[in-house]
């Protein structure tokens, strides 16, 4: 018997989608790498950035130089696009694999036997972790292959660290969707809640960057603690990463507890 049949099922069902997102990520990162030499060799980009107000600079990674490989990739890939992609993919996977499967009656079909709901939640969490890693790994591999061609200068250590941070960021929102799906058994509600959290997290970071009244909100934002720390340049903020992992695990456990205590939907 397979030890993780629900993980393998989840990945089989999402294989085409993940291949598409992985390919898209490779294409996007390749394009970024290809245009890096233009930005590196033209100091006007850094001068343009220096003219922006300080909060705006902070939003687009302005405290690093665009003419450096890590700074450029931080601003163009790791500050918004990759973490949001990882988060949305993870949240959607969690919502579909738990909430969607509850709605269509698959969960009832499976747990009418000896399989526990908690096992489904835990294996779904494992599948979500793998889904969240797909764009991150695709991006990292593209950097490993394409970076040396343009002297990107993003070495293995920082690349691993920023990849871990991006992955953990995705996991956090995947776990949030898992929590909502575990609580209510509705795909749409789980996707909506997790997507709303991503938007809130980004908005809180923006508002906190440009207005003093937004600072308390900013402190609630995973963008602020994980992404804005610019791990491609300054390394991973490990204490924040550990806290994010702990919150992820806690939300997964709560999802398992909540789903055990409620009626299945379908």
């Amino acid at each position: 018997m397979s030890r993780l049949p629900f993980v393998t099922r989840a990945l089989r069902l999402r294989a085409r989608s993940l291949a598409g997102w992985g390919t898209g990520t490779v294409a996007f990162v390749s394009m970024m790498i290809a245009i890096f030499p233009v930005v590196r060799d033209d100091s006007s980009f850094d001068e343009l950035l220096a003219d922006y107000p300080e909060p705006i600079q902070a939003l687009i990674g302005g405290d690093v130089s665009l003419s450096s490989g890590p700074g450029f990739m931080s601003a163009e890939l790791y500050s918004l696009m990759l973490p949001v992609l990882s988060a949305i993919l993870a949240a959607n996977a969690a919502a579909v694999l738990l909430g969607g499967e509850d709605e269509r009656g698959w969960l009832s079909f499976v747990v009418s036997g000896p399989t526990t709901r908690a096992r489904i939640v835990l294996e779904t969490a494992a599948a979500v972790a793998l889904v969240a890693a797909v764009p991150v790994v695709a991006a990292a591999l593209t950097v490993v292959v394409g970076g040396p061609m343009v002297d990107l200068g993003l070495s293995a250590g920082p690349l691993v660290e920023v990849s871990v941070v991006m992955w953990v960021f995705g996991l956090l929102f995947g776990a949030a969707a898992l929590l909502v799906a575990g609580a209510v058994g509705r795909r749409g509600t789980a996707v909506g809640a997790a997507t709303g959290l991503v938007v809130f997290a980004y908005a809180a970071e923006v508002v906190g960057s440009v207005a003093s009244w937004g600072r308390p909100l900013q402190l609630l934002s995973p963008f602020h603690h994980l992404v804005a720390a610019q791990p491609a340049v300054f390394g991973a903020p490990w204490p924040e990463v550990i806290v994010a992992l702990a919150v992820t695990v806690a939300m997964t456990v709560v999802a398992a507890v909540l789903i055990e205590r409620r009626d299945l939907v379908g």
């Binding site: 698959w106 009832s108 009418s112 036997g113 000896p114």
Partner: protein, 303 residues
């Protein structure tokens, strides 16, 4: 309500529902249902749409929690996963993986539930098309795949919600034969169906739910015989209406010359004996059916 087979054989029931109740807000979907089913029994659960059949089955399997009362399988609380080890469940609308072939679906199910001793046999009997994608199958062929999933591990408790949906008469006959054989090997079969003709042929016992309450628990014959039907007697003389009007079970007597059409409920034994005292030219009546008994009972309960 007691399990006849369990009583007769002095064995523990495979499952037992005790005062099982489920409320959704102000609506009581299942109202203090108590019953038990033993090894070797095939029990039909019948009732109108919304009578609580599916809710009862879902509580039996621990998929939804009762508002009050309890469901036990092999003496254990259904919430404990180990108790559900030998359960095979077919929901009303089985969720299958559209992109997988039937064979892939069955293979994966074996990964989850362990080796399937009866897979080949059931695939053959139901003529399951294992190499086809689920999305390419007709409703009936999807149902056959789902039935195979439910039965291939040889479960000790088989719970099926409308298993005959979409099946042609030949496959329906094969399905009931498989279920009968499973019961003969010691499984308990608990099945709901709107096809009362099938229930009539395969079930040892029927339970009728009406508005969430179990209003009948007995044999198919007992329910069928309680049906209201017309007995026509052609006499060789003027019809003796008064003799029949007050017999037990007689609801109405209509006179058509020398013929009486007598509407009767339950046994017609008294009616036959009364007719024997006269010159009878012709005596005819419809065979009592489960459907007739069910309709009669439902009307009586609603009155």
């Amino acid at each position: 309500m007691r399990c006849f087979v369990c009583d007769a054989r002095q064995i523990a029931p495979i499952f037992q529902l005790d005062e099982l109740t489920k409320r959704f807000g102000d609506t009581t979907a299942v109202d203090r249902v108590s019953l038990s089913v033993g090894a070797g029994e095939v029990v039909g659960l019948i009732g109108a749409n919304g009578s609580g059949k599916t809710t009862t089955m879902r509580m039996l399997l621990g998929l939804i929690r009762p508002t009050s009362g309890s469901a036990r399988i092999a003496g254990g609380e259904v919430a404990r996963a180990v108790v559900r080890e030998g359960v095979g469940y077919l929901p009303d609308d089985p969720p299958l993986e559209e992109r997988w072939t039937v064979g892939e679906q069955l293979d994966w199910w074996e990964l989850v539930r362990g080796p399937a001793r009866r897979r080949a046999e059931i695939e053959e009997v139901l003529r399951v098309e294992s190499s086809k994608r689920i999305s390419d199958l007709s409703r009936g062929n999807r149902q056959k795949a789902a039935i195979t999933l439910t039965l291939m591990q040889e479960p000790q408790l088989i719970v099926m919600d409308e298993p005959a949906t979409g099946l042609d008469p030949l496959v329906r006959r094969d399905l009931w034969a498989i279920l009968r054989a499973a019961a003969d090997r010691g499984a308990a079969v608990f099945v709901s169906s709107h096809v009362l003709g099938d229930i009539e042929h395969v079930c040892d016992r029927v339970i009728v739910l009406r508005n969430g309450r179990a209003v009948f628990d007995g044999t198919v014959d007992e329910l069928a015989c309680s049906s209201r039907r017309i007995v026509s007697i052609e006499f060789g003389q003027a019809a003796p209406r008064a003799v029949f009007a007050d017999l037990p079970g007689v609801i109405d007597v209509m006179v058509h010359g020398s013929r009486l059409d007598i509407e009767v409920m339950g046994s017609i034994d008294g009616l036959v004996k009364a007719a024997a005292g006269f010159e009878v030219v012709e005596f005819s009546t419809a065979q009592p059916t489960l459907e007739g008994g069910f309709v009669t009972l439902s009307e009586e309960v609603d009155r």
